[in-house]
């Protein structure tokens, strides 16, 4: 309330989302206009992404707790026919995801700093376009607008994978393309069908209309399924993860860290369960089963990977499946845990991507067996790697634990005891594959690879990214309420309210 008098800051409330959305795009234009000289594009991108991050922090600072509905909302007609509105806004669900995109942008720039050495201009321009696309996905409340950003988020990714692939970029790009573009087509058809039946792309209107039961049930079930399919591939949900490992090992680090997870998971929460609660409830048992399989399957495969990017991919499959479990458990606490866990997972994964990127730049291989005994050589890298790994395996006091505990306990109490127990087995396996990875890279006698280079620990830029992320993991583990209060303040699906009313 102390801020209420601050008229100047309040004045930008109505346009803050537009600013956040367009600034990276404007930055992309600037990068394209200026010459591709040295690190100029990188500096511009860093500058833009820092400002954007600062702007995203405005949202939680001025978010009104206890106020229902979307905030910072803008709803202006854009195109008359079809009736597409520039309709954006955030609630407790999307608020922190927007901040997360803002946070990971400078992280991504610094992760690319030494990794991207050629064609910087196109790289950073596409990187910024990707930012706009992700912001757009999280704030769009008009389905057509949302779809535009959803597609836009796939394009720079596919191009960059093809261009900057480490070994076999084009093949990975094709895989990524086939897996993600193709399911987007039914999504578009489904959105258009909804528009054809209702004349609206407006999220809130559609939510009410669908809940009223005025739409025919059978086509609606197919529509819901089309939505789900597009999202499930993007998460990915087992068994639709075929693209993940290749993309993780081929995509530039800065993009790989954002490609999986949040876009798909958010879309599930908002546009699948949020729009089609009955249909989601009907299909939830299937998704819960797939999620539990994914948790164990991903963890088992992570155990036997020889390449650390692939290990990270299967670990991500396991952790993302846990979040999927939280979503389709359809409990209030499970949703809180799932949303919180998206934030945790993405920050931890970003940190791991940067760290593994550091190793790959230095030692030019991602084969785990080549490593060994690096802890003495690069102790700061080792320290941060251990902290991040501990956060990832859900050590209490670090971030993941809270989210995992909320998801697993709500699954146990509200969904299925047997499945919760099976999912909890992932706890053991995650410790196994991560600690084994730590051991094989950093412990033991120094291998030939470690001896081949002079000590080359974290540089300033890398430390500047990694330490704040590590501190964030600690704070998120100790004081989840800072986030949880706003996360609970969301526009939820109509059928999910009851359990949470206490």
């Amino acid at each position: 309330m102390a801020w209420r008098g601050n008229e100047k800051v309040n004045a930008i409330n109505p346009s803050i989302l537009t600013l956040i959305l367009l600034l990276p795009l404007a930055g992309a234009g600037l990068v394209m206009l200026l010459p591709d000289r040295g690190k100029l594009p990188a500096w511009i991108t860093l500058f833009i992404s820092l400002i954007t991050f600062g702007l995203t922090l405005h949202l939680p600072a001025y978010f009104a707790l206890g106020q229902h509905g979307f905030q910072f909302e803008i709803n202006k007609p854009w195109i008359d026919s079809p009736a597409i509105f520039y309709h954006v806004g955030v609630d407790g669900l999307s608020l922190w995801l927007v901040v997360l995109v803002g946070l990971l942008a400078p992280v991504g720039v610094l992760a690319s700093w030494n990794a991207i050495k050629e064609r910087r201009k196109i790289y950073y321009a596409l990187f910024l376009v990707q930012q706009t696309a992700m912001f757009g996905v999280f704030i769009s409340l008009d389905l057509m607008l949302y779809y535009g950003f959803w597609e836009l988020s796939l394009v720079p990714m596919a191009i960059l994978i093809a261009m900057y692939g480490r070994k076999d970029g084009p093949k990975a790009a094709i895989k990524f393309f086939l897996f993600t573009f193709i399911p987007s087509a039914p999504l578009l058809v489904a959105i258009l069908w909804l528009y054809a039946r209702t004349g609206s792309f407006n999220f809130s209107d559609l939510q009410v209309l669908i809940a009223s039961g005025s739409l025919p049930a059978t086509p609606l079930a197919w529509v819901a399924l089309a939505f789900l399919l597009a999202f499930a591939v993007k998460v990915p949900v087992f068994p639709l993860h075929g693209w993940l490992a290749d993309t993780f090992s081929e995509a530039p680090v800065a993009l790989a860290m954002v490609v999986a997870g949040k876009l798909g998971l958010y879309s599930m929460l908002r546009f699948h369960v949020g729009l089609f609660p009955d249909q989601a409830r009907a299909i939830a048992p299937l998704l819960i089963a797939l999620a539990v399989i994914g948790i164990l399957y991903g963890a088992c495969l992570a155990l036997v990977q020889r390449d650390f990017w692939r290990l990270l991919a299967f670990a991500a499959l396991s952790h993302l499946s846990l979040i999927t479990l939280g979503i389709y458990g359809l409990t209030f606490t499970g949703w809180n845990g799932a949303i919180y866990q998206i934030l945790n997972h993405e920050t931890i994964d970003a940190s791991l991507f940067v760290l593994l990127g550091v190793l790959e730049i230095r030692y030019a291989t991602s084969q785990i067996a080549s490593y060994g005994g690096l802890a003495n050589k690069i102790p700061r890298t080792a320290t941060l790697f251990v902290i991040t790994s501990l956060a990832m395996i859900g050590l209490p006091m670090l971030s993941s634990f809270v989210g995992e505990f909320l998801i697993l306990s709500s699954t146990f109490t509200g969904v299925s005891r047997g499945l919760a127990i099976a999912a909890t087995l992932g706890v053991i396996l995650s410790a196994a594959y991560m600690l084994w990875l730590v051991q094989r890279i950093f412990y033991g006698p120094q291998g030939a690879l470690a001896a081949s280079r002079p000590p080359d620990d974290l540089r300033i830029g890398e430390s500047a990214v990694l330490w704040p992320l590590a501190v964030l993991m600690l704070v998120m583990g100790l004081a989840p309420s800072l986030w949880m209060r706003t996360i609970e303040n969301r526009v939820s699906a109509i059928h999910i309210h009851q359990e949470g009313q206490r």
Partner: protein, 651 residues
């Protein structure tokens, strides 16, 4: 109770020490690192002492406990509400005194022991970190906060076992400890979920209150909860079947073995069962399992201890065995006796490890008992302190171990018909314990030196000081007696069967004590025959019983069995079935089958490989144009042509 006890200082001081040494220690002078680490642990001990003394001075003491201090909310969402709250009661007082007191002594000892090690600062940072988590574990007012400390001490243990991380065996041991503990923690977590589902809270006092309000509630789900918690306790306290990590944990520096893997962390399982005893009390079945696990572990580990040649491994198996006694005590609902043994064991086992460290120090790093011998006169102070500890663990009157072991055995004997069996197992274990401890004692200190290239020297006073204090505690630590100890803990753990008041109790108690001491004497006698009078006889016995000896030396092949039945099948299945058959074969195949129809798009995409910047830009432009088409095409008209009319609903 007036005023705050500032319980938060107890864990926070070591945490501050961890942060200072962990972040800056690399650059700080060694003396400063030492000062920070010692002050942090001393400060923590000091706060505990001040609180205890201020209470002893107060006549209201029994009424004023427990003291609950809450420092804020940790998790508050949905129906779940978890506070950062600490509880000081009789049980946590005992534990805190042991943890911070023995912990501080071991910190002092480490200054001498670790003086020449690389990574001195790192060692003390981890030790302080351990103290932080251990005190959180002990003080926690709810099970989730206890779980924080629980996993946290596991982390500290992992870091310290793997302290010499360049050694593959050390790194392996650290990882093994963490993963095996995680198996236990899995049980703990399921137990927490069950508590939430059935009690709606994780706060210990609320759980106890709900149980007290429903006296008829027994068995069933309570048994399930208790067994889940037992799995957690078995992991942390190295009981069957999860004990396998503790012998390997001896890869860590010896002070770590003393502090974490003997005196404090490994007793957390016993503490946890005592803390949640109201649950266990409602499930005779679960208690029976606790007792059987404890008795079986005690005997099992003692048999392995008979033939180990690494001085620290003998002590490791001895620790497992003694923890088995404590579980046995819990299993017969003699929680006070278990905690009593926990305390005395902390004294004499910490002493045994520290003295062993002094021996190893004197021997220039040698840990093999077969290469020692004749050290008695060369390191006399170590010898005498070690002797006190050996007598204490063997259970000789009036050393500390006598009183606590006696208390457990008495309670077991009184525990119905099956109690007699448990008692018998305990007595046999006492015989074995006495034997293997005196075996160690004879091998290390008597006879001729079997290693000629080392010049043993006595350790510095920073090491001998803690040894002497612990030796004193190993002698007098049990004199308080189980009756007074039990009545102090009674407000938390309930009344214990008092041998003085039970009919015929006194005579029975004395008789059982005599049997226990007699058995210990027999163990000593056998060790004396085999290792002093006829030093060649052990080899002959081993040769006469090749199978039995080999099974013991290989520790019943348990590690090998686990590798064959769990680890390797899991890796094999993951690699060959899940990855190759399912992921690459089935799922990959299916994806490409589906994509077969899309080869056209694949062919188009091949153009991306051209590496021509313009073509990428062109593709981007095409994509953008496609988007614009979506946006600007008058869809209503188009759709109308397909017979779909807009505005049928809504608006």
């Amino acid at each position: 109770m007036t005023g705050s006890l500032h319980l938060w200082l107890i864990p926070l001081l070591p945490f501050a020490g961890f942060l200072i040494n962990g972040l800056l220690g690399r650059r700080l002078p060694k003396a400063l690192v030492t000062a920070v680490a010692l002050l942090a642990s001393l400060g923590s001990f000091g706060v505990v002492l001040i609180n205890v003394f201020s209470m002893l001075g107060s006549i209201h003491m029994p009424a004023s406990l427990p003291v609950v201090e809450t420092f804020g909310t940790w998790i508050n969402t949905g129906a779940l509400h978890i506070d950062f709250s600490f509880v000081l009661d009789q049980l946590s007082i005992i534990m805190l005194l042991v943890v911070t007191g023995v912990g501080f002594l071991i910190h002092i000892y480490s200054v001498g022991y670790m003086a020449h090690e690389e990574g001195y600062w790192r060692f003390f940072a981890y030790m302080n970190l351990f103290m932080f988590f251990m005190t959180v574990l002990v003080l926690a007012g709810n099970a989730l906060l206890m779980f924080v400390g629980w996993e946290g001490v596991g982390l500290a243990s992992y870091l310290l076992i793997g302290f010499y991380f360049q050694r593959t065996s050390a790194a392996d041991a650290g990882k093994k400890a963490f993963i095996v503990n995680r198996i236990g923690d899995f049980g703990f977590l399921i137990g927490l979920f069950l508590l939430l589902a059935n009690f709606g809270t994780l706060t210990f006092s609320e759980i106890s209150a709900k149980l007290a309000a429903n006296p008829a509630w027994t068995g069933g789900v309570l048994t399930a909860i208790a067994l889940c918690l037992l799995l957690g306790a078995a992991g942390k306290s190295a009981q069957l079947p999860l004990y396998v990590w503790l012998p390997d944990a001896m890869e860590g520096p010896t002070p770590v073995s003393a502090l974490i893997h003997a005196a404090t962390m490994v007793t957390a399982g016993v503490y946890m069962i005592a803390r949640t005893h109201t649950l266990f009390d409602r499930s005779p079945f679960a208690l029976g399992v606790v007792a059987i696990v404890g008795a079986a572990t005690a005997l099992f580990a003692a048999t392995i201890g008979l033939v180990q040649n690494d001085i620290k491994r003998v002590l490791a198996y001895s620790t497992i065995s003694q923890l088995g006694y404590m579980f046995l005590g819990c299993g017969v609902a003699a929680y006070s006796a278990a905690i009593f043994h926990l305390m005395t064991h902390a004294f004499f086992k910490a002493l045994l490890f520290l003295a062993a460290g002094s021996v190893i120090h004197a021997m220039g790093g040698e840990q093999d008992l077969r290469k020692m011998g004749g050290l008695r006169n060369k390191i006399p102070i170590t010898f005498w302190t070690m002797t006190a500890a050996v007598l204490a663990i063997a259970g000789f009157f009036p050393f500390a171990g006598f009183f606590s072991k006696d208390a457990i055995l008495y309670e077991a004997f009184q525990h119905g018909g099956s109690g007699k069996v448990l008692w018998f197992v305990g007595v046999v274990t006492a015989l074995l314990t006495s034997f293997y401890m005196f075996r160690l004692w004879y091998l290390a200190f008597t006879g001729e030196s079997r290693s000629h290239d080392v010049r043993p020297h006595e350790s510095p006073w920073s090491m001998l000081g803690p040894l002497s204090l612990l030796a004193l505690l190993s002698v007098v630590g049990g004199w308080i007696g189980i009756d007074r100890f039990g009545s102090f803990l009674a407000p938390v753990l309930g009344e214990v069967g008092n041998s003085a008041t039970a009919p015929g109790g006194k005579q029975l108690d004395i008789m059982l004590s005599i049997i226990a001491v007699a058995v210990a004497l027999i163990g000593w006698f056998i060790a004396d025959r085999l290792y002093r009078q006829k030093p060649d006889s052990p080899a002959r016995i081993a040769a006469a019983l090749p199978t039995g000896y080999s099974v013991l030396v290989h520790k019943y092949y348990v590690d090998e069995i686990y590798a064959m039945t769990i680890v390797r099948p899991l890796l094999f299945m993951s690699k060959y079935f899940l990855e190759w058959v399912v992921d690459v074969g089935l799922l990959g195949g299916a994806a490409w089958m589906l994509a077969g129809s899309a080869t056209l798009s694949g062919a188009i995409l091949q153009r991306w490989q051209s590496g021509n910047l313009r073509s990428y830009a062109a593709w981007l432009a095409v994509g953008a144009a496609a988007l614009l088409v979506f946006v600007f095409v008058p869809w209503s008209t188009v759709l109308a042509n397909f017979g779909i009319h807009l505005g049928m609903a809504g608006q």
